[in-house]
């Protein structure tokens, strides 16, 4: 009999203390952020979208070998005599395959890095074509994608830069 009532008392106390916690948090401010209006700046080491600089690349193929998902392809530039030179003719990253593992950036021997992770985490692809980003001499760091319908290079539509100048580690 006493056990019955202590049981009721103990259970009700446990329930009420649970309610007390939720009530207390109700009067505390929210910890969430309003995403499209407020955006978090990632930390400096964040592994976001990959950027590429065709001017500094020496076309050494190390990033191609370092990539675990074979998403990088490049082609050497050639001079007038048809000999390969330490410049890149074109370079492409397939973001449909990319693991964002930073192995390519770590293996890049140039200073500053020719391929590096930006802080951009808002990559939107509306078409498969957009996933394959290409670079050539004169293309911006963000690169372009090759539109298979209109047969021309286009700026990626879904890319929003979180940060104006992405850091580029040496």
């Amino acid at each position: 009999m006493i056990g019955y009532f202590t049981n009721i008392f103990r259970n009700s106390r446990a329930l009420v203390s649970g309610h007390w916690i939720t009530l207390r948090y109700m009067f505390k401010p929210a910890v969430t952020i309003h995403y499209p209006d407020e955006k978090l700046l990632p930390f400096e080491k964040f592994r976001g979208a990959l950027l590429f600089d065709a001017n500094t690349c020496i076309s050494c193929n190390l990033c191609v070998k370092a990539c675990p998902s074979n998403c990088i392809q490049l082609e050497n530039a050639t001079n007038e005599a048809g000999k390969k030179v330490a410049k890149v003719a074109w370079y492409s990253i397939d973001f449909g395959k990319c693991n964002f593992c930073r192995l390519c950036e770590e293996s890049c021997p140039t200073k500053p890095k020719s391929v590096w992770h930006a802080l951009d985490y808002e990559m939107i692809f509306t078409r498969r074509d957009e996933m394959v980003r290409c670079w050539k001499q004169g293309f911006a760091y963000v690169g372009k994608y090759f539109d298979s319908k209109s047969k021309e290079f286009k700026d990626p539509e879904g890319q929003i830069s979180i940060h104006e100048i992405p850091p580029r580690r040496n």
């Binding site: 259970n11 446990a14 329930l15 203390s17 649970g18 916690i21 939720t22 948090y25 910890v31 990632p42 930390f43 080491k45 964040f46 592994r47 070998k65 370092a66 990539c67 675990p68 998902s69 693991n99 964002f100 593992c101 930073r102 192995l103 293996s107 992770h117």
Partner: protein, 379 residues
């Protein structure tokens, strides 16, 4: 498989009742991914349950056979995607055995810190989702609020929030900064009282206890027979923890307890995990106190490692149990064979027997309490 595809025949009973065949999953709110359980019901009581896996199979074991050792670490991130650090670690341990490399002391300590942080994050996710399974939504968001802080710390350290690729062959990716350590300490100070709140809100809630205590009990003998590991095994009272019984990364130098359950019920398994979070906090504090100086990467790890022919096995106490990797090298640049002993996969095996005779509501309680991650089950 043919027996689960067709509904069972009518039950022969004096009462005119009909058995009902229900597909729970792969699209169901609480199958934690893409698990399908083919249930045969008698009213609300289950007479037969057949788990059906394979919806998330990505063939990482086979993929590893055509990739270099550095690349395999990236693959390991994708098994147990809510606690990827132990996955990285176990592959590195196995590969380091083959290569004959030993990680420096600082890297070992950092590996311990990362694995324990990830254990906290993983158990928080378990706690939250288990709350949802039993109908309490609020603990889920409280748990995620704290989990977010751990993920922020990981992001600050290695740049990723889920697939870290942080633990590398011969060490770790980068060294920690003093600011990072300060933030981690700040988190631990904040986190410890939160555990008491979770206990008040969910663990010792009478309704929650009624739902989970005495449900899905596994005897120690059964647990060992099924090959369970991790909190599922310890919930049954079997004291086995790879960190204690086969220490790696210097776990023998830390002082921590192994929480054990009593009757092996869902609640015991749950409560083991909650107490493990507290032990993880203890381990992290000790590790931070004795963090040695020195390099974080051992010298002499080749860009394209080619270990001598041989085989190695390494296992760690991952968040979900005993995670092991068996590596065979034929001297080439990629493993000849990699086999993963995934704890979720082994733990899942008990479902078929344990669900029989339970109610539909208990299916969710038991399934939630063994804490599977389908990425690891199917690999």
């Amino acid at each position: 498989m043919s027996d689960i595809a067709t509904p069972p025949a009518l039950a022969t009973s004096s009462l005119k009742t009909d058995q009902m065949f229900i597909n729970m999953g792969p699209q169901h709110p609480s199958t934690h991914g893409v698990l399908r359980i083919a249930l045969t019901l008698e009213g609300e009581v289950i007479v037969k349950a057949v788990p059906d896996i394979g919806y998330l199979h990505r063939g990482t074991e086979k993929l590893a056979e055509v990739r270099g050792y550095h690349h395999c670490i990236v693959l390991t991130d994708r098994w147990d995607y809510v606690s990827a650090m132990p996955n990285n670690l176990v592959f590195c341990l196995a590969a380091e055995k083959l290569l004959g490399v030993k990680a420096p002391a600082r890297a070992d300590t950092l590996r311990v810190v990362m694995c324990e942080m990830n254990r906290i994050a993983s158990h928080l996710l378990f706690m939250g989702t288990y709350g949802i399974d039993t109908g309490a939504f609020t603990p889920f968001l409280y748990a995620f609020r704290e989990r977010e802080m751990v993920l922020d710390l990981f992001e600050m350290l290695c740049g990723a929030r889920l697939t870290y690729n942080y633990i590398r062959l011969g060490g770790v990716m980068t060294d920690v900064t003093p600011e990072w350590i300060g933030r981690l300490k700040e988190f631990l100070v904040y986190f410890k009282p939160r555990l008491d709140e979770y206990n008040t809100l969910l663990t010792f809630n009478p309704i929650f206890m009624a739902r989970t205590k005495g449900v899905g009990c596994i005897t120690p003998q059964e647990a060992v027979n099924w090959g369970l590991s991790g909190p599922n095994l310890r919930g049954s009272g079997v004291n086995y923890d790879a960190r204690k019984h086969d220490p790696y990364c210097g776990y023998e130098t830390y002082e921590f307890d192994v929480p054990l359950g009593e009757e092996g019920s869902c609640w015991d398994r749950y409560y083991c995990r909650v107490r493990e979070m507290r032990e993880s906090v203890r381990i992290i504090e000790q590790a931070l106190a004795k963090l040695p100086d020195g390099p974080v990467m051992a010298p002499g790890v080749a860009k394209v490692p080619k270990p001598a022919p041989g085989e190695s096995y390494a296992h760690v106490e991952a968040s979900r149990g005993d995670l092991g990797i068996y590596l065979v090298s034929d001297g080439g640049i990629s493993p000849f064979r990699m086999h993963v002993r995934a704890p979720s996969f082994v733990n899942l095996a008990m479902l078929e027997e344990k669900l029989v005779g339970m109610k539909v509501a208990d299916v969710i309680a038991i399934l939630g309490s063994i804490d599977i991650v389908l990425g690891e089950v199917d690999r």
